[in-house]
């Protein structure tokens, strides 16, 4: 424990590059700035080298916390490490019920579970001879990491929620671990408009299956590929609007599937993401 505290103190001394509106990247929020969105977590720049975030609405049913720590320059990239912790049990037990919104069968009692995640993020501006804010420059972020799902009790494998976005996120508790990697590319179209392209791969490696039936294809396990394309209108430093889509494809217990999101079931149609985000600088 002492080592961990020491590590955070040392890390906090490494001043990183800060940027506004760059949650997905290795850049941290400027000190004392907060940002939040309708569907995004509340983020706060604690110092020039530490940023933390929580999903405030989810917090009461699914306690969660995330910390991003600047790691300085690494191989020409601005780097940061990110650590997440989530306790989904109260929420999962809320939806394990009879009747409407019974997402998990009431037969199952979800045990205490803790999700831990560690990621490494590296960002840089491609075409360095242009300013990061020029219309030609691209902000590239590469990331990767490991997730652990710690369960304190019996977790019935039939209690999975087999829908895109959800299955692989909760899959870590059934598989005990998962790997994630991805890249983000952000480009300023004008001073006010930005486009963000995002690609994330999550793997639930099937090591147990490989031991039974050696086959390299099973090593990868069940995968999920998520892609997002957003057009962002930066109204000011304190407010922006985002629109676009999210596409998910992956391997599920029933086979391969893909889905364009957000999707309205009863209307059987896709609708664009509409996200509002606010920010302020605390004095």
């Amino acid at each position: 424990m002492k080592k961990i505290i020491f590590y955070f103190i040392i890390a906090s001394l490494v001043f990183g590059e800060t940027k506004k509106w760059d949650a997905h990247s290795a850049y941290l929020l400027p000190q004392k700035r907060w940002e939040m969105g309708l569907f995004q977590p509340f983020r706060y720049g604690y110092s020039e080298s530490i940023e933390y975030s929580v999903h405030p609405l989810w917090f009461f049913v699914m306690p969660n916390f995330s910390l991003k720590i600047s790691q300085g320059d690494f191989a020409g990239f601005t780097s940061a490490s990110q650590y997440k912790m989530v306790y989904p049990t109260p929420f999962l037990n809320m939806i394990a019920k009879e009747g409407i919104m019974g997402i998990i069968a009431p037969d199952f009692q979800m045990p205490p579970m803790l999700g831990l995640s560690a990621s490494w993020l590296m960002s840089k501006t491609i075409f360095p001879f242009f300013s990061p804010y020029s219309l030609i420059g691209l902000d590239l972020t590469l990331k990767g990491g490991l997730d652990l799902g710690v369960t304190f009790g019996d977790l019935d494998t039939r209690s999975t929620i087999d829908i895109p976005l959800v299955y692989h996120r909760l899959g870590v508790y059934y598989n005990k671990w998962s790997i994630h990697t991805g890249l983000d590319i952000q480009k300023n179209l004008t001073q006010k408009f930005t486009v963000l392209f995002d690609l994330d791969l999550k793997l639930l490696p099937g090591l147990a299956e490989v031991q039974i039936d050696p086959d390299a294809s099973k090593l990868m396990g069940e995968y999920s590929l998520e892609h997002k394309l957003l057009l962002i209108w930066n109204k000011s430093e304190n407010f922006r609007v985002l629109t676009g889509y999210k596409f998910v494809m992956g391997e599920y217990p029933y086979g391969s599937d893909m889905r364009l999101l957000p999707y309205i079931p009863m209307a059987e149609t896709w609708v664009p993401i509409i996200e509002f985000q606010w920010a302020r600088q605390k004095r």
């Binding site: 596409f247 029933y254 889905r259 059987e268």
Partner: protein, 372 residues
């Protein structure tokens, strides 16, 4: 870049598949074949037919939806065990044509087993066709999750021209419930190997509504009668059957009290609903005699002299089974076989020994083209 955008475009379109599958009035059924086919050559004479609602292989599991149970998802090992037993039972009956209801092909509740393919691969049946009655990416209620369940026709002989005929939806539900609810159907297929001279041969399978309290059941039976009449008027043969969720004329029509779960209240002034859904057969005028047109027009495997005899009862809710000595294994007839040909005299069977394998029992008979 163009290639990338094209691929992305295709993926995005594919990503917009309906969340809940709705069907046209008439659509193609999904065709199946056994992985390895057994030799089956029709040498004229007789054709054995069986109808069976296999309750998606959960046997007498206390499922929340159709009994007093509160369980939803059965474990994979038990499903496999049940399906082995169902396949064994079908092999023992050795029918040429099998009309199945409540078959899961990709459902969370049964471990996503494709039960049509499983039965083809583990019986002496070679061909199949399937029509969904409930297909959704996710049912956000009671933990049901993903579902694809429906009717299937299995046959030793090749099936062609398989059609899914949509039955009217219930009108006694709100829009949201109806959207996520069952879309019942009739599945119909031609069996060229069984054609008799110029007369084509069809198998028709139905699962009519169980829980509607409006006139949906009447609409389903009317559509069924109409479908059969079309074949008959074309001077072709058919065998048909299924779970009609209707009792024979003259039967007891009120099972509310015997099917009642703990805490339920029916037939009293305080009761929220006067009758239990699925246990009462007088929801609209004429319901007790709803099957009369079928009995009048066609040959029934279990004829009117026998249809109310206990040895031909085919159903009791799974939780009516209290224990081996006091159980109600079957207390009503809901499953039927008809033909516009002639069933062989004495060939009809209600396979009550199979009561452990489903809450419905198989009914079989032998079609005799000789008219015996």
């Amino acid at each position: 870049m163009k290639k990338f955008l094209s691929i992305l475009g295709v993926l995005l379109i594919l990503g917009c598949d309906p969340f809940v599958t709705e069907f046209k009035d008439l659509s193609d059924a999904i065709m199946y074949e056994a992985d390895s086919k057994s030799n089956a050559t029709y040498d004229s004479g007789t054709i054995k037919v069986v109808t069976w609602n296999i309750r998606f292989g959960i046997a007498r599991f206390p499922f929340f939806g159709d009994s007093c149970g509160d369980d939803v998802i059965l474990d994979d090992a038990t499903i496999e065990e049940n399906m082995v037993a169902i396949a064994d039972a079908l092999n023992a009956i050795d029918a040429d044509i099998v009309l199945l209801q409540e078959v899961d092909v990709s459902s969370k509740r049964t471990g996503y087993m494709d039960q049509v393919q499983y039965l083809l691969d583990n019986t002496n049946l070679n061909y199949g066709c399937y029509a969904s009655m409930w297909k959704a990416d996710f049912i956000p209620s009671d933990g049901i999750g993903r579902i694809d369940a429906g009717n299937a026709i299995l046959s030793k002989y090749e099936l062609t021209d398989a059609e899914r005929i949509q039955l009217r939806l219930r009108t006694d539900q709100d829009g949201l419930t109806q959207y996520f609810y069952l879309r019942r159907n009739i599945v119909k297929a031609k069996i060229p190997a069984l054609a008799q001279g110029a007369k084509d041969f069809y198998a028709v399978d139905i699962h009519a509504t169980a829980f509607a309290t409006d006139d949906t059941k009447q609409q389903h039976i009317d559509k069924y009668v109409e479908t059969l009449a079309e074949i008959h008027s074309s001077d072709d043969y058919f065998v048909t059957g299924g779970d009609l969720n209707s009792v024979p004329p003259g039967s007891v029509t009120d099972f509310c009290l015997s099917d009642m779960c703990d805490g339920d209240d029916y037939h009293t002034d305080q009761a929220e609903e006067p009758h239990k859904e699925g246990s009462y057969f007088e929801n609209f005028p004429g319901e007790p005699d709803i099957l009369v047109p079928l009995y009048e027009a066609y040959d029934a495997a279990i004829d009117s002299a026998s249809y109310n005899l206990p040895e031909h009862f085919t159903h009791a809710p799974s939780t009516s089974l209290i224990d081996d000595t006091t159980a109600t294994m079957y207390d009503r007839k809901l499953d039927y076989l008809f033909t516009n040909g002639t069933w062989g005299s004495g060939s009809e069977r209600t396979h009550q020994a199979a009561w452990k394998l489903s809450d419905h029992l198989p009914v079989s008979a032998v079609l005799n083209f000789g008219g015996e």
